[in-house]
Subunit: 227 residues, 2 copies
DNA sequence: TCAAAAGTGTTTCCCTTACACCCATGC
DNA sequence: GCATGGGTGTAAGGGAAACACTTTTGA
């Protein structure tokens, strides 16, 4: 091959972006999947994703995917890894760059995005997915666990105001182990990133829990020091 | 655009692989850089890397780069991130997938790879690099520091047999802070991944240090449990 | 007054940190 | 015998983990 031919040969790859989108509902960590409409994987479940155009950025593309699903792109989004395995695509080689995102999932989003071609499933009940998406999901799960213990990102999965019990259940679900209530609360209050906001008005039995808000300013202070 | 045209438009990207190759010499953490020969960056320093062909895997490509530099591909190699920023390349858009690798650098490799177009430089003296390679290097440095305190990978930068003083100096250099000798040794011996191997035969003044080897089996045991 | 969930302190243990002297060797 | 680098133990402090009862509320 001549040099010019070789150079042209390089620019024949596709790059896709895939997003593992996490939500928390009914006490379960859920992930959004959708059915593929085009061959060769038509009918199979997959993580949302798309091929990017030469002028699209990776972050912009993944935010676009998020926006398509939940109508809002301002969420916690972090790059995982590039997946270079050569999987079949009708037109050629695709390298996939995976992200994971955390959203607060009000009921309407879930309802709106649940039909024959879209759904949220518990991470423990994810079916076989197309491409290497089960591997992507596995990596995302590991990363999420690690982040959760090192940085206070759990809030991103909850509404603005939440109770400490909510938060603890979320941690227990994701880390897959029970946590001690007193130790959990001690740790959080010591971090100082929670602000009390009155009491929840439930009509549940039992004492009314206090509501808390996540204090973004304090969080930023910590982040600057690198935790 | 018709669907088929759109699909073709996707497959016009290039993917490159870049390797941050670390070595340890003269008490300094060093990184390998080389001069670019082709335009538009001809003459500028950069990290080693290359565009991949549609049939090349990411890992294979990065191992190939390592092999070109040191003649051996079996080293510690870990993916960093994909860098999607659109930087100019004569033929189009390139997304870069960066790796970092740790090698034991005997003198001959350094000598062999030091001339007008190739060199090892202390990470503290790295010049301006082409593309976004200074960003890549920054991320690699952060990752290396984090890994070093969480997993025993420091050995990968030393010869098979080494003294505890060597190892401590390596940690101090990379973490950029002094460590306590007794605490350092305590921690390592407690981990149990070091095997004593007799004494070094130096002609230095002072007591002869013991030599240690890294115990890969013990390390694997730890890794399975996730540390 | 009972059931259900919220809230609250203390002790133990282990890991981390700080700290100073003796030992072996070559010259 | 002295200069040089190698090697070792102990005490204090701080964070993580274990553990049980009281408070508030609605029915």
């Amino acid at each position: 091959m001549k040099d010019s031919e070789l150079l042209e040969a390089y620019f024949k790859l596709g790059i896709s972006v895939t997003v593992v989108l996490y939500g928390f509902d009914e006490g379960k960590l859920q992930v959004y999947i959708q059915k593929i409409r085009t061959n060769p994987y038509a009918g199979a479940w997959s993580l949302p994703g798309k091929l990017i155009l030469p002028e699209e950025g990776l972050v912009e593309a993944s935010e676009g995917i998020v926006k398509e699903v939940i109508g809002n792109k301002d969420i916690y989004l972090e790059q995982l890894n590039a997946f270079g395995k050569i999987y079949r695509h009708p037109l050629g080689r695709v390298v996939d760059v995976a992200f994971y995102g955390l959203i607060n999932m009000p009921e309407d989003i879930k309802a709106q995005r649940t039909d024959k071609e879209n759904k949220w499933v518990s991470v423990k009940e994810v079916p076989q997915l197309a491409y290497d998406h089960n591997d992507v999901l596995k990596l995302a799960g590991q990363r999420l666990k690690r982040r959760l213990v090192n940085r206070p990102i759990g809030f991103k999965l909850l509404p603005q105001e939440f109770t400490l019990t909510d938060l603890q259940q979320l941690y227990e679900e994701i880390l897959e182990r029970p946590l001690d209530k007193r130790n959990f609360r001690k740790k959080l209050t010591k971090l100082g990133i929670l602000t009390a906001e009155g009491h929840e008005d439930t009509s549940n039995p039992g004492r009314k829990p206090r509501l808390f808000k996540f204090n973004q300013d304090k969080y930023n202070e910590y982040m600057e020091q690198g935790f």
